[in-house]
Symmetry: none
Amino acid sequence: MTQPETWTALTRHWQDLADLGGIGALLGWDRSTYLPPRAAAGRARQSALLSGLRHERATSAAYGRLLDEAEGLGDLSPAQTRMLAVARRNFDRATRLPGAFVQTFSGHAGETYSTWTQARPANDFARVAPLLEKTLDLSQQMASYFPEFATPMDYFIDAADEGMAAAQVDEVFTALRQALVPMVDEAAQAQVRTDFLARHYPVPTQLALGEAIARDYGYDTAAGRQDLTAHPFMTRLGAHDVRITTRVREDDPTDALYSTLHEAGHAMYEQGVAEEFLDTPLGGGVSAGVHESQSRLWENLVGRSRAFWAGQFGRFQDAFPEQLADVTEDEMFRAVNVVRRSLIRTDADELTYNLHVIIRYELERELLAGRLAVRDLPDAWHAAYETNLGLRAPSDVDGVLQDVHWYGGGIGGAFQGYTIGNVLSAQFYAAAGQATPGLDTDIARGDFSRLHAWLREHVYAPGRRYAPGELVERVTGQPMTVEPYLAYLRQKYAALGA
Amino acid sequence: MTQPETWTALTRHWQDLADLGGIGALLGWDRSTYLPPRAAAGRARQSALLSGLRHERATSAAYGRLLDEAEGLGDLSPAQTRMLAVARRNFDRATRLPGAFVQTFSGHAGETYSTWTQARPANDFARVAPLLEKTLDLSQQMASYFPEFATPMDYFIDAADEGMAAAQVDEVFTALRQALVPMVDEAAQAQVRTDFLARHYPVPTQLALGEAIARDYGYDTAAGRQDLTAHPFMTRLGAHDVRITTRVREDDPTDALYSTLHEAGHAMYEQGVAEEFLDTPLGGGVSAGVHESQSRLWENLVGRSRAFWAGQFGRFQDAFPEQLADVTEDEMFRAVNVVRRSLIRTDADELTYNLHVIIRYELERELLAGRLAVRDLPDAWHAAYETNLGLRAPSDVDGVLQDVHWYGGGIGGAFQGYTIGNVLSAQFYAAAGQATPGLDTDIARGDFSRLHAWLREHVYAPGRRYAPGELVERVTGQPMTVEPYLAYLRQKYAALGA
């Protein structure tokens, strides 16, 4: 093929891969939103069929030859070169795992998940432990197909956050824990009024309000929508179809609100990718950590700020006049920032959340390195909670059986992105603040447009155009560093303590 | 391959075809319910890609060889023999259409649908006309791959109603029009109180009530659900996933009610197919006409009967106490059976509905035969309405732009099934009544179980086990005949006139 023909064929192939990915995302979205109960088994089969079709196309010899040919072309732009590099990386990752291994792992994960759904309510870790041992074996085996990584953990971290290694994560997390533990000690003692959050807040009003703020943030509902689900998520179903889901608790309006703002942050990132990159290997968020930084930025740095509540509290009072009649803006601001030690990661506040993540990250790392046995995991869990949070779960239900991640997939790389995201959110937000002074004044007026425009230009539009580390340096002027995040936390909780 | 292996391979292939069909149905369902506006073009491309993939598998040489082998097997049951025959018919239909043609047509249909959604509110037939011309070309081209049919219309009718031809439809429709025109003349003069239907009926109550009655009918919402759309439909997304959609008008509760009961009739047919036939070539309704007979039976013969309102009127008064405070059961029964000449097919009463269908059927037939040009279609539409109903639409919005069919698929075979369905609905219902005396008493008590069970056993469970003509004869003892339908209409409107 001549050069333009090669590139055209590649582009068409990428388009098909994107379309198959979008169809798979629709199957998953529907499963989590509207699927009738008796349809679950059939849907699982449909999803497996479609994954297989996509895998075939993503790993075909013909596609490999196209990539070879394209890599021999002389006249590629820098963006095309990166496009090819990302495509090659994806192709290598997918082709080096033997099909039989992938199938074994996927079957095992399904069996483990199903056992976990019964073992958890029964507080029966022993029942799922043998399966988890096999999961650990398979995870180590998976990493062994990529011997260029020094440890299995390095492989899994790189898979989620290209170019990052365990040593770098360890360093950041160590610094973070040192700073967080005393901050939690202090913040957890504050007397904060939260009684009004437990009043009755009707679902439709909560949904309408959350969506209105997400739209004000910049979430384009002409190219997305919000639906209800049990476990909120964001998903890309097509180039101009990026949906979010939420759940609503009538006795806690912050649950739906911050879930919506969090998923809207993910969605704005996906919606902001430059048109030219859509449906190519560059058409999406660049890494787990950077993605999470965008959800956390809009959820926490914006959505839990004093400026946010200066702009939005009146709107909340209009929507819930009786529930908030005796509540001040300051009380609302403090209530959504209350710090309390707790056992459940997904219910945790901004400060303690990171300790939950660090605990899981370290346990994963020790398991994968062979320094911790699965049978000793429950005790290790309790010990880590006592050390980091001074708490002990009454049973394994809220201990080692708490999160689905290890029981629904593999062990390794599933957790660190949450806290890397927190760290990067502050680093990006500081850069945005320097480039566009007066953001707080905008936000206090309910105007998020300059912030959204800046993020769109600098973070969203590039998609995967730069590796995550390169993106962070280009946008913030330095590699990932924990300082802006610590500065943000110190300032915020000092002000709250006052 | 040995016999059991051949059959196992065939069964697995049918399963994949069913799964790909279900995925395609999900893409279509989502397009009509929840798709964000900007996602339309991408969705059309996804649907085209998936149609192409399904077409590949439905027409592959390997599948053809499997069918050849299976046809050579000696020891097939009668059901397996019919399964193979239906599979062979589908294979032949599909293999004669080139893959590129199917993909072009599907992509074109998506584009046309999307343009129609904008052209219709703008009353801009000219905007969609060039696309419709291409649709007509493509439809004629499609029929030309099947030269064994005397006319394109015969091909499309046979595709929808296996074994039926235009001559038979013409004959039934001629007899019907002769009987209907004087009946409409008389019934349209009746003084009927309908003022209370234009009061305010809130959406959620309407939806809940419609769904409750659909469930009482026998629609299984553990294997289905109802959502909102512009143009109600039923769709099978999987073996145990049969969904319906409706629309709601707050100033006319009969719109959502009868749309729900209609689609529930379609859905109960699909849900009632015997487990052994699901995901095989026999796993679904056997023809457009028989399908429509089941929706019409539950919508009209049951849902607009005096017995239905005897059982349900109290429930309506409980749901809408103010709106129906001054209304009697008899007034409600008469109001839902009022006969009025109108412009909109989907709003039409039982009598005039068939005239709307006959108009479209004849226009299609003329378009396909090349005796009518697309540019002359708006005028031909108006002329036909003046002849048959004595009405003229003020614009194309309620004229030629009214129905989605020509704009969302092809031209040919889309409409006659509605009126064939009306004819068959009465034929089946008469047979049900003879087999299970006392149905009216059941229905007046709100008990639909014996009727549902009889239909399930005799009409639903067989799926495509028998050709439509054979099914009608087996169940009713005679071929399709217009007499039971005319008898039903005469009896009903005579009683209403009294």
